[in-house]
């Protein structure tokens, strides 16, 4: 089971970073300030408009030369996957917040809540219910994306599998089947959680 620790730590790191970015960029897109809004939009479009592999290479080869900072492969993997999926998930954050019915804002205003209180007590709790199932789906996608860190020579399960196959060329079929099974086993609890979240989320959201 060599490489499993790398796969899992990259996944956890990317997820935490990605979700944080998603909220920051999601709110950025809803900001009153035009500059913040434009800036966020540019970031999102760049990361959605280019491929994750290219982004990984870019962060790995170009960034150190450009800025003179040396980041570990782990950091590069987490940052790239996090920024990439964060860009997609920021749209989920934004969409969910906008999907809370106007009447909820109005009722909160009628109770004299401040802008922050409306968000904190009324809008976000409902928006998050809509976000979570989507977040679950993206978590599964992030798991699959972690296999790409093998190309920046991180020894995750894909990398270990490929090495093993190179050494034992006759066992390619077994190795790849094995990889398939491992990814699926890791994904299973994520799939289960996502299902649960979907069911939970269907309650407690204004429908009107």
């Amino acid at each position: 089971m060599e490489g499993l620790d790398i796969t899992l730590t990259v996944l956890i790191g990317s997820a935490i970073f990605g979700y944080s970015i998603a909220f920051i960029a999601g709110f950025g897109r809803l900001a009153k300030n035009v500059f913040i809004r434009k800036f966020t939009t540019v970031y999102i479009e760049i990361f959605r408009g280019t491929s994750l592999v290219v982004q990984l290479f870019w962060f790995f080869y170009v960034l150190p030369g450009l800025l003179g900072i040396e980041l570990s492969s782990y950091m590069i993997g987490v940052i790239t996957i996090g920024m990439n999926y964060g860009a997609y998930m920021s749209e989920v954050v934004r969409g969910s917040i906008l999907a809370v019915p106007k009447g909820q804002y109005e009722a909160a205003t009628a109770l004299n809540m401040s802008r922050f209180q409306r968000m904190r007590f009324v809008i976000l709790p409902q928006a998050i219910r809509m976000m979570l199932p989507e977040f679950g789906n993206y978590l599964i996608q992030m798991l699959k994306a972690t296999s790409l860190v093998s190309i920046i020579s991180m020894a995750d399960i894909t990398y270990v599998g490929l090495l093993y196959r190179d050494a034992n060329t006759s066992e390619g079929v077994a190795v790849f089947t094995m990889l398939l099974v491992i990814y699926f086993i890791i994904a299973l609890p994520l799939i289960y959680i996502t299902r649960r979240l979907e069911r939970w989320a269907s309650k407690g959201v204004a429908t009107e």
Binding site: G103, A110, L111, N112, S114, R115, V122, Q126, K203
Partner: protein, 258 residues
Amino acid sequence: MTQPLIQYEDVHKSFDDVEVLKGINLEVDPGEKISLIGPSGSGKTTIIRMLMTLEKPTSGLIKVDGTPLWHKEVNGKLVEADEKHLRKVRGDIGMVFQHFNLFPHMTILKNCTSAPINVQGVDKKVAEERAVEMLEKVGLGNKLDAYPAQLSGGQQQRVAIARSVVMRPKVMLFDEVTSALDPETVGEVLEVIRDIAKEGEMAMILVTHEMEFARDIADRIVFLESGKIAEEGKPLDILENPNSERLKTFLQRFRSNF
């Protein structure tokens, strides 16, 4: 002479160049109950939404307890109010909506305590006692831990009324609060509003199509027509001896309800 609680002074409102309110002058005294009637599209909802700060007047002044709502005095001049000013003034105003707008992720009790605790800083225990008392009064003392989706429309609307009353506003606004309800639950909601009205101290502006209810509850009826107040007066005068043809025609349609 007491100071009016609410004053509209030549208030105009346009939506995309269409003027829907054309100079509203209206005063509401503390504790006074007003029924706002008028044909669909005449601007009734817009009038009370401006008072709730949900819609901004295009021109004119709205005052609460003598303080301009949408304007702030800076060096003797009135300038556009900021969020802070709006919050200070609208604390005296509460509103019940046509579609209840309860918070679906909170229990009934929580719906009624969240704002007192977080907005007014009321102690949690005190807020809960008040909320329970109020919910019992509207007949929902046994539903404290239920969620809005588990209640009927009539029950939800009674919660929404309780939620607003526990904030102890000086004026409560009701926008056709029974028109989204099944006919069999309309009565229970009107009954709750009547009870609250009887206690007297809160002013009310009720937009309603229930003429009998308007007559029973109101100190004054205001008839709105195409963005203007066309007639106003004591309920009996307005309903039994309307002056204008328009009001006569309007009332004709509700005759069967009497």
